[in-house]
Assembly symmetry: C2
Homo-oligomer: 81 residues x 2
């Protein structure tokens, strides 16, 4: 069994209202920054073991638990430990 | 004024209880994954304009609004648009 570390990034799909991003945008503007857009997202750094294709395992984690395919996009980076 | 895109990643410092990460770890284990550690974090993708050093601007955004220096680490990638 090999050990891996996955960095998983989850964002909202285009067209889905990003209330947090909009709140942060307004707050940054009120602090004097010239900000045109803010997108918010989540990130998970996961250490796991598996004996099959680690990409397949991470895809399953995303589809079954971490991301909602209706509203989220996800991407990830994998590293063998 | 130049336009930039910053990808900002905010995580909890070592030693700070990551309740969300621990919940995700247990959920992944209950789904049959062999997971030893999960760290959760936030991500912001910010488009902004500035006429000075963009790294300095992103540092200020992080310190003044996005990250809490007591409990968070942050890192970022910058790209000119």
């Amino acid at each position: 069994m090999s050990r891996y570390k996955a960095m998983i990034y989850i964002t909202l799909k285009e067209g889905i209202l990003d209330a947090e991003g909009e709140t942060v945008r307004r707050a940054l503007i009120s602090l004097g920054f010239d900000v045109s857009e803010v997108k918010s997202g989540k990130m998970y750094i996961i250490e796991f073991k598996c004996d099959k294709d680690p990409e397949e395992v991470v895809e399953k984690m995303c589809r079954h638990l971490l991301a909602n395919p209706v509203v989220n996009n996800y991407k990830y980076e994998l590293e063998e430990l």
